[in-house]
Symmetry: C2
Subunit: 94 residues, 2 copies
C-alpha cells in the first residue's frame, strides 16, 4: 500500500534559514518516509521553494516533486482582524 503524507512528515517553513528545514526534510526522507510535504504561508512561501530546491538540487537528486498546491487561508491577527494569506504545499517524494 502506498504511503501517503502523514502529519509526521510535514515540514512547516518559517523564518529560520532554509537549510534548517531542508535538513529536517532530508532526515525524514532518509529514515523511511517516502514523501514529505513542505508547507509555508505568506512571505515564507519563497523560502519553502528554496527548501525544495536545496533538497533536490544539492542533496537528494533522486527526489521528485509530486505536486505543488497553492491556496488562500484566513488567519486572525493580534487585533482580531481576519486576513487572507496565501499558502503553498510542495510534495516531494523518492
Amino acid at each position: 500500500m502506498e504511503q501517503r503524507t502523514s502529519p509526521d512528515n510535514v515540514i512547516y517553513v518559517g523564518n529560520k534559514p532554509p537549510m534548517n528545514y531542508a535538513l529536517a526534510a532530508i532526515t525524514q526522507l532518509s529514515s523511511g518516509s517516502k514523501e514529505v510535504a513542505i508547507k509555508a504561508r505568506g512571505r515564507a512561501i519563497s523560502r519553502a521553494v528554496d527548501v525544495a530546491e536545496i533538497i533536490r538540487r544539492r542533496f537528494m537528486p533522486e527526489t521528485k516533486i509530486r505536486d505543488i498546491q497553492i491556496a488562500t487561508e484566513e488567519v486572525t491577527n493580534e487585533e482580531g482582524q481576519k486576513l487572507n494569506v496565501s499558502s503553498i504545499e510542495i510534495y516531494l517524494n523518492k
Copy 2:
C-alpha cells in the same frame, strides 16, 4: 489547435503591489488569451502566489491552475558573483 503560453502572456512579478500584476493577467485573459504564466524569482515568489490567488479567488473564479513549476536559476549580481535563485511559474487558464 490548443493555444499555448506565448511570451505575450507571461506576467513577470516584481516588487509592485500584487494587484498590479493581477490586473495585467486579467486583462490578458479577458482579451482572448486562454492562458497566462505568472513568473517570479526570489522573494517575489510569495507575491506571485498572491497574484494567482487574487485572480482566481476574487476576479475570475472560472480560471484553473494548470500547472506550477519551481526551478533554480543562476544569476550574476553587481559584483559579478554567480548566485542561485529559486523561481516559480504558475500557469492559469480558463
